[in-house]
């Protein structure tokens, strides 16, 4: 069977200790929370940290706290805890939906919110064993120097495959990180990622994600749709997260109220969750109607650039941006 390589295993008692260990061992160290992403990758030698720093035991990472209306969710919460959390399920429905759509119940019992946000990008030239990758003479993301998906591409095009990240971006959430210097900062989720399959997060390497801050629920609605072959446990090969806030969003009148603020975010078609600005333009200032939804979906369709490195034909994934965006918006109508 596939076995893990040898590594040093650290179990720090505090966040400070954890970040210090990471700073000490630099690029040779990895945090591990649920391990549902890191360990399989290590078995396939996609990642080969010599030091693995366990963080799931850190108490601070498990809190869900109301901070004056908005909610702070610890990065160490398991995905099961996230989608079963009463408050989250009620006020942040899209996040609960996304968390519940990740993998299988067993993996969700281990996998964490932080780990999901930091999930390695995916590509079916890369998510393979060392022996397999030897057969293609490796690629730029690990052990090689070319991208087989687009040979002339100067950068890796591996796919952002996290379900919760597009939702975090759509909600306008902020991701809180703590560094070895003891500094804590909040990065808007929209600024957290980078469209680069290798260097896909803007946070510093030693920075630990401690929590995610969700905006106060004041009438906006959100939803998440996910394309995959099997509803039972597949990664997304297209995700659509939407956030819609209506002007004067009270009661039944909301139906005809014009949209005041909107975000449509595509997951799994780039190396980062991507905001479709054209979709917001199509939605804002008009009531949410079949026509405005059609225009928004069209805008999303236009920008999506899936590559041939996941399940499903890329042309199909692109085609599906339309119906999936429409359905995500219909859900908040």
């Amino acid at each position: 069977m596939l076995r893990l390589p040898n590594f040093h295993y650290h179990v720090p008692a505090t966040v400070a200790e954890a970040v210090a260990l990471k700073a000490e061992h630099g690029p040779h160290a990895s945090y591990v929370a649920g391990g549902t992403d890191l360990y399989p990758n290590m078995k396939r030698r996609q990642q080969e940290p010599h030091h693995v720093i366990q963080i799931s035991q850190l108490r601070e990472l498990h809190e869900v706290r109301d901070e004056g209306g908005h909610v702070r969710v610890g990065a160490g919460l398991t995905l099961t805890a996230v989608h079963q959390h009463e408050r989250i399920a009620r006020d942040y429905h899209a996040l609960a939906e996304a968390a519940e759509s990740v993998a299988t119940p067993l993996l969700r019992n281990m996998g964490t919110l932080g780990g999901n946000l930091c999930l390695d990008t995916r590509c079916n030239y890369y998510d393979q064993s060392y022996e397999w990758r030897k057969g293609i003479n490796f690629c730029m993301k690990k052990d090689g120097d070319i991208c087989w998906v687009a040979k002339s591409s100067p950068k890796c095009l591996a796919v952002s495959s996290t379900d919760t990240a597009p939702v975090a971006v759509a909600l306008g959430a902020a991701i809180e990180v703590t560094s070895a210097k003891g500094e804590t900062r909040r990065i808007p989720a929209g600024d957290f990622f980078r469209n680069d399959g290798i260097d896909y997060m803007k946070k510093e390497h030693d920075e630990l994600v401690t929590s995610i801050h969700l905006p106060a629920p004041n009438g906006w609605r959100s939803s998440y749709m996910k394309l995959r072959r099997r509803g039972s446990f597949d990664f997304p090969v297209l995700g659509v997260a939407v956030f819609v806030k209506f002007a004067n969003a009270k009661g039944a009148a909301a139906k005809d109220a014009p949209v005041e603020e909107a975000r449509v975010v595509l997951g799994a078609v780039f190396s980062e969750p991507t905001i479709v600005h054209g979709a917001a333009d199509a939605l804002v200032g008009r009531p949410l109607t079949k026509e405005s939804i059609e225009d928004a979906a069209e805008a999303a369709f236009k920008i999506a650039k899936p590559m041939d490195n996941t399940d499903y034909l890329l042309s199909y994934r692109k085609e599906m941006v339309m119906p999936f965006t429409k359905r995500a918006l219909l859900k908040v109508m």
Binding site: L2, G135, R230, L313, P323
Partner: protein
């Protein structure tokens, strides 16, 4: 239950063989499996669970190039590593092996050439698995790449380089051309002729258990191999051959298999390598493959491109069929020659086909070798036939269920290609699923997006001929009756989860009137058990069942004689039931089973009997007539109801109704399990599974993992309604036929036909995925043909056909001589 009751039921007669239709006490009851408790409590030891003292671990180095000359292999750096005990290359085991005598084309480790990514080329054994793993990466290999043969087209067109230096020509492994009657005349008579080209993509077995083997070499130079194999007898032969050992010194024990489906039916490289290592080191050596390596062992469903041309009368009666198939064989022969014949064999056993022409070609390509997967070579042609029949029914404005019912192959007949049909319950299968699914109110009547489809199939209950030519039985059973009343059954058959151990116990228990759970079943050990050819071709229940029946009846005869003598009764007045042997005319007079055995032992000496089974000879007398005959054919019919999401094309199967003609269920619970399991596997093949390679990147397998090789989970599984049709077949034990493979076959075509009913597009390519459906729907929206699939069959040099006149044209099963042909 009282003895009286059993007498009134007729009981078991100690005269002659069990007759179909007699009341039974064990057979036909939904009992649990004899190994069920061990399985569910985790007690069962699979091959990878075995641990021996001082055991070493083996790892294979596999080629990372799809086609290459091996220039040099230097084990030196690996052997120098701490913990590494020994290394091997192909040179140490140069003798070739393979499952079929006609394709002995494999080496334990590639000798001079690597033929696909994953082909084993060297091996290491070490103190632990990590060390062995590290060591194979230290081996220095020099490979010189050769051009690759990527698929069917390449195989037909490109002769050089040849992947193998045998076969018909170039990279053509095998060509078959068999003609039964004048098909062209059949087309001329027809009111309508359809010509379709259909592709069935390859897919794999995906058993939960990865292959594992453990070899041990004893001080007196005997070899034992425990392995996850479906065919210990064939592994036994291969080991003796390659290792140049007397077979008497080789013992192969097949562990319970965690799923086989045909993927553990070949002798494998890793089995021979660990045996060799055990002999070299004197220590036990184990190997457990990774999931990725299982994909490289493969031997699964061949990708097959098919052309099917059929002439029909207005009422749907077939006047002639011309069937062509091209198989992408992968890098080795495996069962491929048989697979090729099978793509043309069973077309004739469901609907009357008076004239039939079959042409098949198998190509060598640089991919994991294909072989037998559940249905072996027959699901692809069955799919093409059943989809075409759906189209013909539409062309003729007939109901697809009716057109089938109208033209069934009659029971007790011989087909155009000389297959002898016995019992035939397909009509009843069709009627059951049509009624159960409310077909008449659904077909072409459901709202857009929802549809139903029907399809049928048939399968062998064991192949009529063994894999290597011989006149010996296909299955043997020994029975030991102990004076304590204990009964042990010994048989070479292998339980791969299908319940063959249980069937042995049920049959013996039925005949001897004892509790099946008291019987000890010893199977799949070449030292202890008589040969059974293996768990493939759905042969085990019929063949070992018959052998067990014979052995048990012989034992009953001995015991009955002894008891009759004691009771001063007639032998045919002696009954076996409820653990007693007694007088039918006075049930109170009799003995416990143990006591009865003691009388028998006193009279005859130690009580042991044997039974064996050899299938009847088939009427075909031409080259190729060996593939297709079976003692009995099972039949199935299925109706699928599904939704297609009009926006996404995604198919969602809601329910499948399936009727299966089982002859007689030895255990209906196990039969239903096999039927539902077949439906489940068929559903995966129908809508998602595919073994695909990246032509642009060295022919790597695109997705050799459980996550990315998409196979349905329980979540994707639909509801299944199973109808068992019981029409006992005279050749089966108690009338039983097969259940393990046939019910898979109708699922794929029924799904394709249902998709057409739902959204009006024809997907002439398996799997029927959302992408393909959407593509065809879009084409249709734009005024083009609403169809996805291949449009042409490549040109092939088929050579001259072997012409065999069908029985109704005066044929006797022999091919025409050349002179006759000229006339």
């Amino acid at each position: 239950m009282s003895a009286k009751r059993s007498q009134n039921d007729g009981g078991a007669s100690s005269r002659g063989s069990h007759r179909a239709g007699e009341p039974t006490r064990v057979v036909g009851k939904p009992l649990r499996k004899v190994d069920a408790t061990d399985k569910v409590t985790g007690k069962t030891l699979f091959a990878d669970d075995l641990v021996r003292p001082r055991m070493l671990y083996c790892k294979l180095l596999r080629s990372h190039l799809p086609h290459a000359t091996i220039k040099n292999i230097d084990l030196g750096p690996a052997l120098a590593m701490e913990g590494v005990v020994a290394g091997l290359t192909g040179a140490e085991m140069p003798i070739q092996f393979g499952i079929l005598p006609v394709s002995q084309d494999e080496h334990a480790l590639a000798l001079d050439k690597a033929r696909f990514i994953g082909d084993p080329i060297a091996a290491i054994c070490a103190e632990d698995e990590e060390t062995a793993e590290a060591a194979i990466h230290a081996i220095k290999v020099e490979l010189e790449p050769l051009p690759t043969i990527t698929g069917i087209e390449d195989g037909i067109k490109i002769d050089e380089p040849r992947i193998h230096d045998y076969g018909t020509r170039g990279n053509v492994h095998k060509v078959v051309n068999l003609q039964f009657g004048d098909v062209e005349a059949g087309f001329a008579e027809a009111d309508h002729v359809r010509d379709d080209v259909i592709f069935f993509e390859g897919n794999t077995h995906l058993p939960m258990e990865q292959h594992a083997s453990l070899a041990e070499w004893s001080a007196d130079r005997k070899l034992t191999l425990w392995s996850s194999t479906q065919t210990p007898h064939y592994v036994h032969r291969a080991l003796a051959k390659v290792l140049e050992m007397p077979a008497a010194r080789v013992r192969v024990i097949a562990c319970p298999n965690g799923g086989g489906f045909g993927g553990k039916s070949d002798p494998f490289n890793h089995e021979i390598v660990v045996a060799k290592f055990a002999m070299m080191t004197g220590r036990p050596v184990k190997v457990t493959l990774t999931r990725e390596e299982v994909f490289y062992c493969h031997r699964g469903r061949h990708p097959v491109l098919m052309r099917i041309k059929t002439g029909v009368k207005k009422d749907g009666a077939i006047t002639g069929m011309h069937f062509q198939s091209a198989l992408d064989g992968g890098a080795y022969g495996s069962y491929g020659v048989a697979s090729t014949f099978y793509t043309g064999a069973l077309q004739t056993v469901t609907y009357k086909i008076p004239r039939y022409h079959f042409q098949g070609i198998r190509l060598f390509t640089n991919k994991a070798p294909c072989g037998p997967k559940r249905g072996h070579g027959t699901p692809q042609p069955r799919h093409a036939l059943e989809v075409q029949l759906d189209k013909i029914a539409e062309d003729l404005k007939m109901d697809p269920a009716e057109i089938r019912l109208k033209h069934l192959t009659p029971p007790d007949s011989v087909t155009a290609n000389y297959l002898k049909i016995g019992s035939m319950g397909l009509g009843e299968c069709i009627r059951k699923v049509v009624a159960g699914s409310d077909w008449k109110n659904k077909h072409r009547k459901l709202p857009y997006g929802r549809g139903v489809g029907i399809a049928c199939s048939s399968y062998l209950s064991g192949a009529g001929l063994p894999i290597y030519w011989n006149h010996m039985p296909h299955s043997g059973v020994q029975l030991k009756l102990d004076r304590s009343g204990g009964v042990a059954v010994f048989c070479g058959s292998t339980d791969i989860g299908q319940g063959s151990d249980s069937v042995l116990a049920y049959v013996v228990a039925e005949v001897l009137g004892i509790d099946p759970f008291d019987i000890r079943v010893v199977t799949a050990d070449t030292d202890l058990t008589p040969v059974d050819l293996g768990s493939y071709s759905s042969r085990v229940t019929l063949m070992t069942g018959n052998a067990a029946l014979q052995a048990a009846e012989r034992a009953r005869e001995l015991v009955a004689k002894a008891v009759a003598e004691k009771l001063e009764a007639k032998v045919n007045d002696i009954v076996f039931a409820d653990g007693r042997v007694f007088r039918a005319s006075n049930p109170d007079e009799g003995y416990s089973f143990a006591k009865a055995v003691q009388y028998a032992e006193a009279k005859f000496g130690t009580i042991g009997t044997v039974g064996s089974y050899t299938p009847p000879r088939s009427p075909g007398r031409f080259k190729g007539a060996g593939v297709g005959p079976s003692p009995a054919y099972s039949y199935s019919a299925a109706v699928v109801e599904l939704d297609v999401d009009p926006d996404t094309g995604a198919p969602q199967v809601h329910k499948i109704w399936i009727g299966h003609d089982i002859g007689k269920s030895i255990n209906p619970l196990l039969v239903e399990g096999q039927v539902e399991g077949s439906v489940y596997m068929g559903l995966g093949e129908a809508i998602m599974e595919e073994m695909v390679y990246r032509e642009n990147r060295n022919m790597v397998h695109k997705i050799p993992s459980m996550l990315e090789y998409k196979s349905p989970t329980t979540f994707e599984m639909c509801d299944v309604e199973t109808y068992l049709i019981e029409d006992p077949d005279p050749n089966g034990p108690f009338g039983a036929k097969e259940a393990g493979q046939g019910p898979l076959l109708p699922i794929m075509p029924a799904v394709a036909n249902a998709v057409y009913d739902a959204v009006g597009v024809r997907i002439d390519e398996i799997p029927v995925t959302a992408e393909k459906i959407r593509r065809a729907m879009r084409d249709k929206e734009r005024g083009r043909e609403g169809r996805f699939g291949p449009t042409k069959f490549p040109d092939v040099d088929w050579g001259d056909p072997l012409v065999v006149p069908p029985p109704w044209e005066g044929g006797d099963g022999k091919p025409l001589e050349e002179e006759a042909l000229k006339k």
